[in-house]
Symmetry: D2
């Protein structure tokens, strides 16, 4: 099952780490640490193997992928020995990264993306292409009447106005090119009625939003812990310090707002009430691709006695995100192959702000994920063998 993975933001840290990692896994140079799809509970015949994956993508910047990989090695995000060993493989991927279309009407840009996707599929003889958005976080979208239905949207895209933010334009193009779409960012992506309708019309699955890689991952197990023990969370405050590209983007208050809202949701929905406290995101350039998050939780126990929990998370966002990008591409490809359509609510495990999710508890999300993938494997004709 030859599967294309088309990365929007293909030269960014997450994309580069994903590509380096997939190439290293394919060559047996590394173990699949961090890859959920390689756990015994998840792996199986329905998923394309790492060797089945072919990478391409769009990016507005032109720095060669090998240079980006070297920069990540210097920053301690990927091992330098892998970048050196994979130089030839990276050069092959380089040929499939296209400049992000600019200029013209939105419709014209959509057409170019669609053409790039078709060309990619044809040249590599791919069974399908999964489009994954890993580009920088956008500000919250401005509402527009054309967001309501596909016909109005198609008409509006023909005009000169920027009706859609880039993430949604790519989702539109993906659906138009019959590709499933995954949004790993908090941006709007496919979350507009017109795009949902378009995906339904074309029978395409999509997934999102906002990869759950750090502080929110921890929250999604700690908040259920308090809930299951009937402990009353009085306040939950946090600060995220991060450098790197995403940090600079999030220093923009508008993008920050989108991200913070996504981070807070897990608490209210898990606990059933909103504790006091906020989550902050601050840009500290010198931290580079590593992020430090600190959270303080104050809570009441029996008879109202006050207690506290603090945690500090020191993680590398790209290294946490990249294996999930591969997991999402593999599972979404398998879901597409099995005929799934619409939002993949069973993939909530991967996201801070999951589409149509019934729960924010990581444990419950895990149970749903395992069940969903088991269904794909059963449909694919077996659960024992591993395709990868």
């Amino acid at each position: 099952m030859r599967t294309g993975v088309w990365l929007v933001g293909a030269r960014g840290s997450v994309a580069t780490t994903s590509i380096v990692g997939a190439l290293a896994l394919r060559s047996g140079l590394t173990a699949p640490i961090g890859c959920v799809t390689e756990l015994p509970q998840v792996r199986g015949p329905a998923l394309p193997s790492f060797s089945d994956l072919v990478f391409g993508g769009h990016d507005p910047v032109l720095t060669p992928l090998a240079k980006r990989a070297e920069a990540l090695a210097a920053a301690g995000v990927v091992p330098g020995r892998l970048v050196a060993a994979l130089a030839d493989d990276l050069a092959v991927v380089e040929d499939d990264i296209r400049p992000a279309p600019t200029g013209g009407t939105p419709a014209e840009r959509v057409a170019r993306v669609v053409a790039d996707l078709a060309d990619f599929r044809r040249r590599h003889d791919l069974d399908r292409v999964v489009v994954v958005n890993v580009s920088a976080t956008e500000p919250v979208v401005t509402p527009h009447p054309a967001h309501a239905d596909p016909a109005a949207l198609a008409a509006a895209l023909d005009g000169p106005d920027e009706v859609l933010p880039p993430s949604s334009l790519y989702a539109y193009a993906a659906f138009t090119a019959d590709c499933p779409y995954v949004d790993f960012t908090p941006s709007t992506g496919a979350r507009l009625p017109a795009l949902a309708a378009l995906a339904a019309q074309r029978g395409l699955p999509y997934a999102g939003h906002d990869g759950k890689t750090g502080e929110t991952l921890v929250k999604s197990v700690l908040a259920p812990m308090f809930a299951m023990r009937n402990l009353q969370v009085r306040s939950w405050s946090g600060i995220n310090l991060l450098g790197g590209g995403d940090g600079a983007t999030l220093a923009d208050p508008a993008a920050n707002a989108a991200k913070v809202e996504s981070k807070q949701r897990v608490l209210g929905e898990t606990l059933g009430y909103h504790p006091q406290g906020d989550t902050r995101i601050d840009y500290v350039e010198e931290l580079g691709d590593f992020k430090t998050a600190w959270d303080l939780v104050t809570f009441a126990g029996f008879l109202g006695i006050g207690m506290r929990l603090e945690f500090t998370w020191h993680g590398c966002d790209s290294a946490l995100a990249a294996p999930l990008v591969l997991d999402l591409a593999r599972i979404t490809a398998a879901a597409h192959a099995a005929g799934a359509s619409g939002p993949l609510a069973d993939l909530a495990f991967f996201f801070k702000d999951p589409l149509d999710a019934a729960t924010h508890s990581l444990g419950e999300q895990w149970t749903r994920l395992c069940g969903f993938v088991a269904g794909l494997h059963a449909a694919a004709g077996g659960t024992d063998a591993q395709a990868g």
Copy 2:
């Protein structure tokens, strides 16, 4: 369903807090924060209400319960206003606390405990009595041939030797008196073949071991998080600083060893491998009944990149334990009423070192607990109404 709760260590901090809390709940003076059995997913008609509970117990010390409650109020463990308001109710409970039997052969002491239990049941016209061990942690037990079967044990108890540690002697007495037994401590309790056989002969349920109230509670959600994400835990080190009675007990290396081993188990069994690092317990008198635990987890993500998580837990052990003691008494009573016998593996949710547990993941334990209690409610003839 009038239910006796017989506390071994009835004047200790956990027991006193449990009694004050239950009395306050019965009188509507406090909300059931920390009570798992009051959550919508757990409560129901099978459980005795707080008003159905009658307290008694054994303790070697003689300080009046009201004095112990005042000391806990001064230490910030229970609100002083509750202790003042419940003075009369505490005096009533006082009458049901007996001095722990001393002297004579073990069999003679068993006989006195059995007599005290029978007397307690009769005087209060109780449907059943659940014996709950909340006394100080014992050293690891010395093996003895008589531990292997009930007949040999009965014979050995008639001799002068201390064949059983106190926790096991109380379990033996409980079973002899047809009472279910719960061990909230890491001590041996019912964990001997002879006692398991005795419980089976008499058709009695029992539960344990070692209430999961702090650091291990957090571990039991964080360790599954790493496992579900296929992140490789390289080291997990922790230190527990605690004062209070339990702290002084654990300053004894032998008791410490039992507790530490219980704390470590969750990691190996959840992750499938043993990360480096130890858990320490240090006694710091001035911390009183509050405990501070600090843990450092180092782990590898994608491509082996190293990351870290630290947490500090500042909790009041008695306030965390007491509602669970009530939960366990209520559920074990309901299980007994429903005819359950043997180790209650479905109560693993409450314990660091659960009997016959299939999993140490809090989320999976929760699912099992909810299923088990739902079965009790169904058997009790309804799920809508709440007995409490």
Copy 3:
């Protein structure tokens, strides 16, 4: 040496804690923990004793002092037993707290404050009165031409405009009434050329700004540590979570800005360069009078190797501030008695943003403080005896 301590914001948490504490110390009900003036290196005959201190003040709110003290006891800021034992003494102080003047021109309000101060001095037969501002933090002041010299300022105060913020109006009134002035807040206070000139004309000492009670106290020893070891601080980020009255005030972005700037100064001035990172202040009501600050410092050692230090400070601001308010009143009174005039740069030890300070290093500030006070004691005729 009978000394009046006139508190601007006399019913606030800091003032109330200061008064309760001074009364308790006078009565021998508590030990002088936190009182720098009771250390062997500082105490001596020049300082008024706790028994010499008489309290009064202004406040816009009217809640009785005893009620405020009870609220602080309920919040764990002062021991309830002290509030109960000192009821009569608090009632005496109550009689010396005046409503903050409102309405009329600034000059009219100044006249009323001056009259209140004169009346307080006369009624209690005081040698002097030290005015201490412990009211809520103000926004940064709007510049005004009349701030430049005393004559222009006097003229402007006669008009209807609010030429001065309240803290400066009180400083003006204090100087007019021949009283030394201490500003424990980050507000403008005496920091205007016209007020400095007025103090000089009248030969009055003054001190400030912004009591160093928590995160900045720790910074003022850690930053010199990095400097003395030639370690290069790359980033220093912090967040302060606080409830209580001051927290709510600081939730106002303008007041927050004043405070944050004051907190950052220590780094730049101690290190000689500005590390990356900001200090945040967030209001979390449920934390009450306790504040939690978390700081992350990243630094380079030999050959540029990166390292990290994190700290969490969990302190009670009022309990940290109150003994310093007493220290400042005692030392400023002694300085006034010894004829000191102008800004007391030697009191930098007490402040986040000290007047004319040569250093932000706590150790160097300590050396200067000890030298300054030793001079006062020598002038007062002895160093052996302790006045308190």
Copy 4:
């Protein structure tokens, strides 16, 4: 002023980092971060420059220095580019590292060390050689009557018994060879009456003990902070998690005891009382050369209100120690040149457990250090120019 630096444990992490760093500084390949002797308050003409330093030493292991440097680069302790650039310089130093003498009587081993030192001085035409012990921590020494005076010691060394631990044998050899001696470890070194007398006879200065590089460094500024503010430290507990060679050594309880005692001393001597709590050292191999220390301080403020401070230190011990080794060699050489003799109490700034130290406060130690070095510069004929 050509100065030899003879490292006992010359192939260990600290020594290797010191050598790589000094070579890099000499070549202008790095900035002197972490070098106290390069601060404006300390540098000056009395100190030998980095170019004046010539390295040699003893080590029982034979791994080439370049290999050790590569291993440190792989572990992130030194930059790989420096190791590559300095290959030739490292080869030169390699020729001056001798196998640690073994076998024979202690006197025979002393003679070989003395011969090696004399040979090193002669071949490189050195003005003096400073011997610095950076070998693994030894257990606490067993008392022996010959420790009391030089003559008895000389006689005993001629016998077969191991009268002295290695660190003291090297101190004896250093003094015999007319070399100043610095002990950077907690081992016994020159701390025996016989060795002190020997140094006095020969007019040699010596310094120690136990480089202050991490948790204790932080303690030595935080403990004075509590003292200066008259805050009452109730408990101070800490845990040090470390891998690397030193970690493995300290896993031995005897060595651990020596180190822990050294770490605790700062508290009692600074505060004037002993707070509750202990310091733990645990070996966690996977942490490598990086160490994580966590400390919890509980303290009382005004009116006895309880508060807390926690800190986590994540440092690279070798990178923290190496520049101090260079500082100590430079200053001790200058002290020797200026005729200083006996224990250099003014170098307490560098040590956890300083010889004859009047204070454990880093700030006061700094003042003494600056004064001492200023005296050396004055004697050397100037303070403006920098020799380095």
